[in-house]
Symmetry: C2
Subunit: 201 residues, 2 copies
DNA sequence: CTCATTACGAGACACAAGTCTCAGGAACGA
DNA sequence: TCGTTCCTGAGACTTGTGTCTCGTAATGAG
């Protein structure tokens, strides 16, 4: 089953459906923040909804959990007032992101694993807010290297401090959490500094 | 079931067991290079061995596939003669690694997914040869920044050009394969250049 | 308030991973 | 060659994901 078409929710008994969907997401969110990777059955039961109905709203466990993933409402994570120095601005964003990844590591791992399912998804993965945060932090250098390069750099920064990099540094390289944080932070700093001299692409 | 203890293979009818294990690995390798992520049953059948026996040798599909993963025999991937310039040396290794990841992307994704199984593994993940390759390429700078920093840098480089980073740049950032290669190569270059000024840790 | 629409629940099914038991047969020592 | 060890195969079982059918009941329009 593919993802439910958007206009399905907007036809028929829309309020009932919205309610059901919200209950599922709320239940999933609660279980996720409680620390596990809930099965669809557990989410459905916690929401007082049957399993088949849960699958009527979300094509897979991955989609349900993705929809339930706690969002940060903030549109900016720069301190107030924002620093002027580029590396400080970026370091602030990176520090926030790295910390968040570390806090929610088990959920992030679950999301990554589910997103790698053998059957290619119909894009359940949403681009988060991290890239915009980095682009905001990099704004002062947009004039000198151009928007395109700023975008590339932001992608590289997100890659450097995301869960994917963390997983490797932890599981395979065997670094301690604090060491992982430090190395990711160093990578971010190095990428920014180098971008000033030779921007990507 | 945990991983079979190593000395199990070395006790009793060792040759029979070694043969069985080799047949399983050979069959898995064939199926993997044919392009899919075979089920344990498929590997066992292809090897003319029963499924329970396959599980006697490998605790999980992940372990079996990991054991079957094609190895590069080379202990060095530097061109002959090796360049003197540090960035060229590293670029050579990175280019090789990035190319290999791109070639075997589906298998690498399968390995990554299986390595993220909910139940923490008893270390089925082996540190590959990529880090040693990078350390070799970085040898000229060991005197100036120290072995420890070289090691850290090599870990960062491997993280930057591995499958984990590629997955994100492809699936979420939506870059084309060639763009992914270019950005990973840029990241590697930037990290090396910056390490000359402020080494990690 | 009535009734057709339509979301929901119960329960069964398919399939894959992983586990367990037990009996047969191959390997190896004597 | 004989006999015991112990590896292997057959097949059932458990758990989890995702699908399907069909009857029921809530919803909201008239």
């Amino acid at each position: 089953m593919k993802s439910m078409s958007t206009d399905y929710l907007e036809s028929g008994r829309t309020r009932q459906k919205q309610r059901t969907r919200d209950q599922l997401i709320a239940a999933a969110r609660e279980l996720i923040t409680a620390g596990d990777t809930p099965r669809v059955e557990e989410v459905a039961e916690a929401a007082g909804i049957s399993r088949p109905t849960a699958y009527r709203y979300f094509a897979s466990q991955a989609e349900l959990l993705a929809a339930a993933y706690p969002e940060t409402a903030a549109t900016s994570v720069l301190p107030d007032p924002p620093p002027e120095a580029l590396d400080e601005r970026v370091a602030a964003v990176a520090g926030f992101v790295i910390g968040r990844v570390q806090e929610n590591e088990s959920q992030q791992r679950a999301m990554l694993r589910l997103s790698l399912g053998e059957v290619p998804h119909e894009l359940p993965l949403r681009q988060g807010r991290v890239v915009p945060w980095f682009i905001e932090a990099l704004a002062p250098m947009a004039d000198s290297i151009g928007d395109e390069s700023v975008h590339r750099l932001a992608l590289a920064l997100r890659a450097a401090c995301g869960i994917e990099t963390r997983v490797w540094l932890t599981d395979v390289a065997g670094l301690e959490p604090a060491e992982v944080n430090a190395l990711q932070q160093w990578m971010v700093d190095a990428l920014v500094k180098q971008a000033l001299e030779t921007p990507p692409q």
